[in-house]
């Protein structure tokens, strides 16, 4: 159930995610080894546009990438087609966007 466009979208979002995942891992290692407290972390992320963009981009890429992946599974394994398949794909994308962006907002908003 992959059209060429969906295929490209999935590859491009994967390309975007790869360095962001590495960045995220580096941040985690830094935060834990430096022994940063929650407060210290939040004081750096709150009001920071770069962190909002960093994690915001990640959330957008994940939402698109995962929705396409689940779409293929739903089509090939559960034989979902047509409207139902589109509805499922968009709903998952929207849910991941909502949950992810809300989380990003809560650590980066002032």
């Amino acid at each position: 159930m992959l059209t060429f466009r969906l295929f490209m979208l999935q590859r491009v979002t994967a390309l975007i995610m790869a360095p962001l995942v590495l960045g995220h891992l580096a941040v985690m290692v830094y935060a834990i080894r430096g022994g940063l407290s929650t407060g210290a972390i939040l004081s750096r992320t709150q009001g920071s546009l770069p962190w909002a963009i960093f994690y915001g981009t990640f959330v957008v890429a994940v939402s698109i990438h995962a929705a396409i992946g689940v779409r293929v599974i739903a089509a090939e394994i559960f034989h979902m087609r047509g409207l139902l398949l589109n509805a499922l794909s968009w709903a998952l994308c929207a849910f991941l966007l909502f949950a992810g962006l809300r989380a990003v907002l809560s650590v980066t908003a002032l």
Partner: protein
């Protein structure tokens, strides 16, 4: 192993598109016997109504493929000894294709997809032109040659889980043929082929797990051809087609 057992216990699928069931036959165990020999023996000695298909018996024509103990195989070149389990053999029609009768499947969807994938030669010159020389050691020709020896047996098609999950998927054989033509300097419609394999059901649906290459009796690697098609379609996408 069964070499000391006098008879083979053979289950053969009987039926048509509406359904069917396995029927058991006792077949004499002989030396150097192929699965096709066993099927022929049943049809000639026990039940002349058994339907199946073959032509060359030497692995050239690609018409004898069936499921043998659950795996797709060219039956004329599959030795009984190689596949037998506990003296039992189960023979069924090829997976992923409609059954006409017993072991004979309807190959129409398989070949329709070859055409859909533009797996047909698009000539660039007529019989009045001189024959164009093809350099056998050019990069393109080497790629085409690696995929060219397909006998259209549909073994790969039957092994492909993506075909099973998505009946629109063009499948390994049609895409493998398209890849040979993309690399054929005498073919005049490279862009059309890349376009055809980028439609719904096209090469981008392949999961790259490689059953096709594992089962292809001619040791071709459709998965490699499909990876080539993906690469070329992405390239032409960025070049703005």
């Amino acid at each position: 192993m069964s070499s000391d057992t006098k008879t083979l216990d053979v289950s053969v699928w009987r039926g048509d598109s509406a359904g069917g069931k396995f029927e058991r036959f006792q077949v004499p165990n002989q030396q150097s016997q192929t699965i096709l020999d066993v099927v022929v023996w049943i049809q000639q000695k026990i039940d002349p109504t058994l339907a199946y298909r073959y032509a060359c018996r030497v692995g050239m024509c690609g018409s004898c493929a069936m499921m043998v103990n659950g795996e797709p195989r060219w039956t004329c070149r599959t030795h009984v000894l190689k596949v037998i389990r506990d003296n039992r053999i189960e023979v069924a029609p090829l997976r992923n294709l409609p059954v006409i009768k017993d072991l004979a499947t309807d190959m129409d969807p398989f070949f329709t997809k070859w055409v859909k994938a533009e797996g047909v030669f698009h000539p660039t010159s007529s019989r009045d032109d001189d024959i164009v020389k093809v350099n056998p050691s050019s990069d393109d020709r080497i790629l085409a040659d690696a995929a060219i020896e397909c006998i259209n047996c549909a073994v790969c098609y039957a092994s492909c889980d993506t075909v099973q999950g998505n009946p629109e998927y063009l499948g390994p054989a049609a895409l493998n043929r398209a890849w040979t033509l993309v690399n054929d300097e005498k073919d005049g419609k490279r862009a059309d082929i890349l376009d055809a394999v980028s439609q719904r059901g096209g090469c981008h649906n392949c999961h790259s797990q490689g059953s096709c290459a594992k089962f292809c009796p001619n040791e071709l690697s459709p998965i490699t051809s499909i990876a080539g098609l993906k690469r070329e379609t992405i390239k032409s996408f960025f070049k703005g087609r």
